[in-house]
């Protein structure tokens, strides 16, 4: 069922192509499957769950455009086109049959009164590519249903198209590594509570008791975040962005602990420490033992080489840097670009086909352009 579909009814709202991709979430021994749809207009994603109704599989959920506040409900049914005739999908396709997903969606009104028809066109681009969601899934300012750098958005990240996440690591006053982006507690990220100033001025107990992120979640510890990645998601990459200044040994220990946990769970999960500044590089250099500590360097190629980093991640605002990218890849390095949100540039970077992955607040856009790319 995964693939690139042609949009007929609904193209004015969602564009003329859509990517359909299954993801799943583990909760204990339960697995919940979700169908995501990514379209080429306005960073749109659909979050759908399948439920059997009578003799058909019904997909229900919502669609959302990340660039603005557009949102609506959707209800789709799986059908097949057999001998030119549309009928309910029976569970398998005969040669020459085409899968059609159609139904209704709502927009400004709650009523589902707009037709949406998606017809299977071709398989997804199979080329391996890292689609990394910034701030564990996306920015709070994009009005997502979960706050940035929360456990809840980590669980949402796959449905937004991500294969990996970047998280922002800071330390509380009592030395607990937690996820938080900004330099201070502020109303952009947290609910009003009277607390201000650097997060580092508060103990974990204080933050846990008194602070809630903008959608009501607690500020997670790095361990809670990685526990979620390992136990609940299919994400295969975590980029630990170093927002703190100081010793890196605690983060290193946690990175190694969860790498082992992932291996024991049969997961090929890469947990990488990101080095965005010279201070972070110094902290890394000060580690007593650098074995099994994969790093990603955001600084220039010479520093990246000198650290023996396996991943180089330049800013996208430096351009494609094709010669440098190819040279680093020839030396065996992986090259990502960050933080690229501008849809036209995402399309261009992907069509140029040099980078191994893109870090973005708009992982649905990266997913769309990656999966529709024809090799």
């Amino acid at each position: 069922m995964e693939g690139v579909y042609t949009v007929s009814n609904g193209a004015s709202q969602f564009g003329d192509q859509a990517v359909l991709k299954w993801t799943y979430l583990f909760t204990g021994t339960d697995t919940t499957h979700y169908l995501s749809i990514f379209t080429g207009t306005d960073a749109t994603y659909f979050n759908l769950e399948g439920t059997p109704e009578a003799d058909s599989l019904v997909l229900k959920g919502y669609w959302r455009k990340l660039v603005n506040a557009s949102i609506g409900e959707v209800r789709l049914i799986l059908r097949e086109k057999h001998n030119g005739k549309l009928q309910l999908f029976k569970g398998s396709l005969a040669p020459g049959d085409t899968l059609v997903v159609d139904g209704l969606y709502g927009d400004k009104s709650a009523a589902l009164n707009n037709q949406l028809t998606l017809t299977y066109n071709r398989p997804l681009n199979p080329k391996p590519f890292s689609i990394m969601a910034h701030r564990s899934g996306g920015r709070t300012s994009d009005l997502l249903p979960a706050s940035e750098n929360s456990v809840e958005i980590i669980k949402l990240a796959s449905r937004l198209g991500a294969t990996g996440i970047e998280v922002d690591v800071r330390f509380t006053k009592d030395g607990v590594p937690v996820l938080y982006h900004d330099n201070t507690l502020n109303l952009r990220l947290i609910q009003k509570n009277g607390l201000t100033g650097p997060l580092e001025d508060y103990t974990y107990q204080q933050l846990s008791t008194l602070v809630r992120l903008i959608n009501g979640e607690k500020i997670p510890t790095l361990e809670e975040a990685l526990e979620t990645v390992v136990n609940n998601t299919s994400l295969n990459f975590v980029w630990l962005d170093t927002k703190y200044i100081g010793p890196m040994d605690k983060v290193q220990a946690i990175q190694q602990k969860y790498r082992q946990k992932a291996l024991l769970a049969g997961r090929n999960l890469r947990i990488i420490i990101g080095l965005p500044t010279t201070e972070a590089v110094d902290s890394y250099k000060a580690l007593a033992n650098k074995d099994n500590t994969p790093i990603l360097c955001e600084l220039d190629t010479s520093i990246t080489r000198s650290l023996d980093a396996r991943i180089w991640a330049p800013r996208w605002t430096l351009g494609p840097q094709t010669d440098e990218v190819l040279a680093m890849q020839a030396e065996g390095l992986t090259v990502f670009v960050w933080t690229l949100d501008e849809p036209e540039f995402i399309r261009e970077f992907i069509s140029q086909n040099h980078f191994d992955g893109i870090l973005s607040n708009y992982s649905p856009v990266v997913a769309y352009y990656h999966y529709i790319e024809q090799q």
């Binding site: 960073a43 952009r188 605002t317 430096l318 351009g319 494609p320 949100d341 261009e348």
Partner: protein, 247 residues
């Protein structure tokens, strides 16, 4: 047009009575008030005459773009105008922050509606250009063209003090952005937002006059923040403080 002018005149007379009672204390008729220089006030310079100003504009960044950091970005602001006829004049404006600049050229038609109330309609086209070359951070440049149809109402509050309220639509005509050797172009005409400006103009010292005011823009894009690559398809609030010496 005559009907419109009469309606506007009646409204303004009513409002004027409420707002500027104090000005009548001067005991002087507006007809005898001398022509004063103003850059924003909707009154054409005399044909063949120039008007110029130099000042600064401070634009506060919206939190959606700069997140926890709120900065007021200053730009040097030059204005020059030249009267063409009794009602028609050319207006040009240049704003620069050195790494990014904006040059506008427009035509205005202005007319008095009453002794105190003035009206103008204008159409400006601006071109902007920005370029940033910072090691390991930026190898970027962008430029674009925007157009601003506007209507201004001006009121002589007192002999010396003039209030101008200007409303503008902001329309994007062209945008090109380049990082390294890769460029994208948006070549579509789209309404980007709108803006309201409130300006007071009055004498300051030594026969010089000043323009002081605010501009509230609600727009999808602001040329001064091109390097932040705004992806929101929603109007953000860009408040601006404006200060200019009329030369």
């Amino acid at each position: 047009m005559v009907i419109l002018r009469n309606i506007v005149a009646r409204i303004s007379q009513s409002v004027g009575l409420l707002v500027v009672v104090a000005s009548f204390a001067l005991g002087q008729s507006p007809e005898s008030w001398p022509l004063q220089p103003g850059i924003y006030f909707p009154q054409a310079p005399l044909p063949g005459k120039w008007r110029k100003s130099v000042g600064a504009v401070f634009t506060t960044t919206p939190p959606e773009l700069t997140e926890e950091v709120r900065v007021s970005v200053p730009a040097v602001d030059f204005n020059i105008q030249r009267g063409l006829t009794k009602h028609l004049f050319l207006a040009s404006r240049f704003q620069t922050q050195f790494v990014q600049s904006n040059l506008g050229l427009g035509l205005r038609w202005a007319t008095p509606l009453t002794n105190r109330l003035f009206l103008s309609a204008g159409y400006d086209v601006t071109g902007w250009l920005g370029a940033l070359q910072i090691k390991d951070v930026f190898a970027s440049e962008a430029y674009g063209v925007e157009t601003f149809p506007s209507i201004s109402m001006g009121y002589k509050l007192t002999r010396d003090l003039r209030l101008t309220v200007k409303s503008e639509a902001i329309i994007d005509l062209y945008y090109r952005s380049q990082v390294g050797n890769l460029a994208v172009v948006y070549n579509r005409r789209a309404i980007n937002g709108f803006a309201f400006t409130f300006i007071l103009e009055q004498p300051f010292y030594n026969q010089r006059h000043v323009s002081v005011g605010i501009r509230a823009a609600y727009s999808n894009f602001n040329w001064q923040l091109w390097s932040l690559y705004d992806t929101f398809d929603r109007n953000l609030f860009y408040p601006q403080l404006i200060f200019g010496f009329i030369l």
